[in-house]
């Protein structure tokens, strides 16, 4: 009988902070500029240049640390990580070695199998390197070019404890982490642009064993699904090796999206001795209580808290609460509508229904659409006040989405106002009764369903504008007494 193995995964996530300027100079961090435009002597590492810490970067890292329930260091420092690579302007990266800005946190995640708490070992600050550019492929290119626009862009590295047990948990951890950072508005978290990068350490151990097995480090997973797929592949690979009585080699492996497998990078990446030592160009970072307090006050309600509150306070279904709080802008939109319109469930229904459908169709966020929270609450009130029917509202909503117009104006312009005047409907109701003797007969014989048919006919005639409740009542008054 083969041994059962437990998977052990730890993630190292690099996140670009979205400050306007770089971590140690005043250069812009804007993505997509022409090569080497966003550079200066400091981020090019010219002789004699010196780094000066951008305080805002520290603010952002503190926010991240606090949101991940970390202890924020009172005394932190920067260290040099020394290695040669053409994209590394100074041939060392300014990072944090033994005194990171934040430690000992955790992230609560939820998967189909339950709720798990994943430890966060540390959050530390560092600068990004530049980027090598090749004409065509790296093998065929005549030369390597270097673009230093990214050199000195601020990063935080978030290292998890080896608490993750399945690839699905890894994906949930990443999703939650990304969401937290989005709520903090400190990063774009765009994996394609490289503003969020993830490496993973994976190992297996026989169930019940305390010691970790030999791990492989997984790189180059450029999307959340790549992380999940890469990990799944790697778990299977190691499982097979162990089942066959072979050993797992400690190495770095790269995920190949096209081949759908991980490939050993042995030989390409040698073991480095980074010779860390405190950077003498920077003073130690001392974070006092008032600075911490200032940052703590800026901490918004985090996604998990919001999710739980939406369920308990608004009685939203867990799924709906998850979808709405699963996107910072959706949650914010929801709560803005709620300020004017106190029926959370109804708001949620609309957001989960029409709104989400249109957003997905157009691949947009709520604020990209023509619908403003004010107009949505206005429209919902119009339904409640019988100005429009729920059905007409869908039409109003679509126009609102496209045009950004005020729903009252749309109703007026399009003549969509609900007809709730008995006099106005009287002759139409009589006409329909006259035109449908069979249905009338059915109703008289106690077949209640036939009323719905007549209501439908009237709605059709009025192009949905008749107040269906009123029509229903009028038909009953006329046909049953």
């Amino acid at each position: 009988m083969s041994t059962k193995y437990e998977t052990v995964i730890g993630l190292e996530v690099h996140v670009q902070l979205s400050t306007k300027s770089k971590i140690f100079c005043g250069c812009s961090t804007e993505f997509g500029k022409a090569p080497n435009i966003n550079t200066c002597p400091v981020c090019l590492g010219l002789p004699g240049s010196l780094p000066v810490l951008n305080k805002k970067v520290v603010d952002y890292a503190m926010l991240a640390g606090m949101a991940l329930s970390c202890d924020i260091a009172e005394y932190s420092k920067f260290d040099r990580k020394n290695y040669f690579y053409p994209d590394l302007a100074k041939a060392y990266q300014i990072s944090q070695f033994d005194l990171p800005i934040a430690e000992n946190g955790n992230i609560e995640i939820e998967t189909d199998n339950g709720i798990f708490n994943i430890g966060v070992t540390r959050v530390h600050l560092e600068e990004d390197a530049g980027k090598l550019v090749h004409e065509g492929s790296i093998d065929k290119s005549e030369a390597s070019l270097v673009d230093y626009n990214r050199s000195g862009v601020p990063l935080i590295e978030i290292v998890s404890e080896p608490d993750i047990r399945t690839p699905a948990q890894a994906k949930a951890y990443l999703t939650e982490l990304k969401l937290i950072l989005e709520y903090l508005e400190i990063s774009d978290c765009n994996m394609e642009e490289g503003s969020l990068r993830c490496d993973a350490n994976v190992s297996l151990r026989p169930e019940g064993q305390k010691e970790f097995g030999t791990k492989a480090e997984l790189k180059n997973m450029n999307s959340f699904s790549a992380v999940e797929k890469g990990l799944e592949y790697e778990v299977k690979r190691q499982q097979k090796l162990l089942d066959e009585g072979q050993v797992v080699v400690q190495e770095t492996r790269t995920w190949d999206e096209d081949l759908n497998k991980t490939i050993s990078m042995r030989g390409k990446e040698e073991a480095h001795d980074y010779r860390y030592f405190p950077d003498p160009d920077l003073l130690p970072l001392e974070i006092n209580q008032s600075w911490k307090k200032e940052i703590r006050e800026r901490l918004p309600e985090l996604p998990r808290e919001k999710y739980k509150r939406f369920i308990s306070e608004f009685s939203l279904p867990a799924y709906d609460a998850g979808v709405i709080t699963g996107n910072r802008e959706m949650a914010e939109f929801f709560e803005t509508v709620l300020k004017d319109y106190n029926d959370p469930k109804n708001i949620s229904n609309w957001m989960m229904g029409e709104f989400l459908r249109l957003l997905n169709e157009n691949n947009e966020g709520p604020y990209d659409s023509g619908v403003s929270p004010e107009n949505l609450s206005k429209m919902l009130k119009m339904i409640d006040e019988d100005v429009i029917s729920g059905k007409i509202a869908k039409k109003v909503f679509e126009i609102m989405y496209e045009s950004g117009k005020d729903p009252e104006k749309i109703v007026e312009e399009e003549g969509l106002k609900q007809i709730s005047d008995e006099d106005e409907l009287e002759s139409l109701v009589d006409q329909i009764i006259a035109a449908n003797p069979d249905a009338v007969e059915d109703i008289k014989n106690g077949k209640d369903r036939a009323i719905g048919f007549l209501v439908g006919q009237i709605m059709k005639e009025t192009r949905g504008k008749a107040n269906p409740g009123l029509v229903n009542q009028m038909l009953r008054d006329k046909l049953m007494d």
Partner: protein, 480 residues
């Protein structure tokens, strides 16, 4: 006296009185350089264009401290669009796109920057013989070294090839050549002068400072170059003063410590006698002189030769041929480009220190070397602090000998030992000045080192000014 022999304040006096003009001054120094540079070889680059540019602005700047004064700059201090080679092949044709903060300050003060001076490659050395290009000769005896690493700057001042100069001091690189060349050199408290634009050797030790013909000039230059700089995180705020107010002949009640352990070291008797004679003069002038005890300087030297190379190994890693400076022709991939560029670009001493530093930071050795050295550094700092609780100044020789003969010290360890009195000062981060206190039997200048507490530049200048008046050596010039 010739114009080129004059000090900054003497030249300023003449300008103010209308006895000379900036054009005359410029010409006097240009002629002097033309006459003696072949013998002394102080300069790597002459920058008369830059001097002319600033001379043209003289009228609007004439109230500034250095208006119209020719100043030389050590070649590891960045000058925009002007070669800043650090006397290294790896940066032989490197022209920075920006000025260092001190050069901007000199500019603002109206100085005429007349050239970039020779030095030991990347400031690593004590004789300027480690320049990748040529030796500089001591104006007092051309067969002798000017000291180092700011040998070009000290020689240029001593030879009248500039009115004053900037050097940099990591372990004695301003004070030791000042001592060898019979001029005044000041290493300021760490953080007093912005390092922005100074090509880093050992970042936690490096300080830019003045080399001048007398103490008054030293105070003037110090006024110009000190001050907080937001571009240098290690620069200190609110400490700079008007140092001219310390130009007073008064040492009465000043407590001066004489470290017994330093004077007990085995070094040149003439140097020892000369320094102690000068101390006697200070005592006669009213200073209270007492013996003090201090940590063996050998520990400071050992710590220095770990910390300095460790930082250097990292600071010099950027010279890889990718962005600027030398790129080896003999390369067919990235690795060989790195390897060959650095092999061809660096001299032996620089390579030696990179290897030492890399080793000291390596995993498994870090604690035994780098961390231990940092602990020693803390102890040395504490030791100086302890002494300065009771004393205003400490006096030592600047160097164990007068200027060595060129080509006579081939053993690196023997060369390192010439820094024995100066290195502890950088380790502690305190200020110290070398001023001439006499001549040996070969008519080579002897330097005395005045060490002060953190931010004690004023006290140093006051004692030095007093001593200078008593000894009356300041108008003595090398004959060329």
């Amino acid at each position: 006296m010739n114009l080129y022999d004059l000090t900054i304040h003497e030249l300023k006096d003449k300008l103010n009185k209308g006895e000379t003009t900036v054009a005359e001054i410029r010409k006097a120094f240009a002629d002097r350089i033309a006459a003696v540079e072949d013998k002394v070889k102080s300069y790597l680059t002459l920058t008369d264009d830059l001097a002319a540019k600033n001379a043209a602005k003289y009228e609007e700047k004439k109230d500034e401290l250095l208006a119209g004064i020719p100043i030389a700059i050590k070649d590891n201090i960045s000058t925009e669009a002007i070669k800043t080679s650090c006397a290294s092949k790896v940066l032989e044709n490197y022209k920075p796109p920006f000025n260092s903060t001190v050069v901007d300050k000199l500019d603002a003060a109206g100085a005429l920057i007349i050239g970039k001076t020779n030095m030991d490659e990347f400031a690593m050395g004590s004789s300027t013989e480690n320049s990748a290009f040529f030796n500089t000769n001591n104006p007092w005896n051309l067969n002798h070294a000017p000291g180092g690493s700011s040998g070009g700057s000290a020689a240029a001042v001593a030879a009248g090839e500039c009115a004053a100069a900037l050097g940099s001091d990591t372990g004695g690189s301003i004070r030791q050549p000042a001592s060898y060349c019979g001029v005044v050199g000041l290493k300021l408290t760490y953080g007093m002068v912005s390092r922005y634009g100074l090509v880093a050797f050992a970042s936690s030790l490096d300080q830019i400072g003045p080399i001048t013909k007398d103490v008054e000039d030293c105070a003037i230059m110090t006024n110009v170059i000190t001050g907080y700089d937001e571009k240098d995180s290690t620069s200190v705020a609110d400490k700079a003063e008007d140092y001219r107010k310390y130009l007073k002949e008064d040492v009465s009640g000043m407590k001066i410590g004489i470290p017994e352990e330093y004077f007990n070291l085995d070094f040149d008797q003439e140097v020892k006698d000369s320094v102690l004679a000068a101390v006697k003069e200070l005592e006669k002038a009213g200073a209270e002189v007492e013996t003090v005890h201090i940590t063996d300087a050998a520990y400071a030297l050992a710590a220095y030769y770990i910390i300095g190379p460790a930082e250097a190994s990292s600071n010099l890693a950027r010279y890889d041929g990718v962005r600027y400076g030398l790129r080896s022709e003999e390369a067919d991939d990235v690795r060989s480009m790195f390897f060959n560029t650095r092999s061809e670009g660096f001299g032996d001493e620089v390579k030696r220190r990179i290897v030492i530093g890399t080793y000291a930071l390596s995993s498994g050795y870090y604690d035994a070397y780098y961390l231990k050295a940092q602990k020693v550094r803390t102890l040395i700092k504490d030791d100086f602090d302890r002494i300065f609780n009771d004393f205003d100044l400490i006096v030592t020789p600047t160097a164990p000998t007068t200027a060595i003969e060129l080509g006579t010290k081939s053993d690196p360890l023997e060369m390192y030992y010439t820094d024995i009195f100066t290195v502890p000062i950088n380790i502690a981060g305190v200020p110290a000045m070398s001023i001439p206190c006499g001549f040996d039997s070969n008519n080579m200048p002897i330097g005395l080192q005045l060490i002060g507490p953190h931010f004690g530049e004023g006290k140093i200048i006051q004692a030095a000014y007093t001593l200078e008046k008593i000894l009356d050596l300041k108008d003595k010039r090398a004959e060329l």
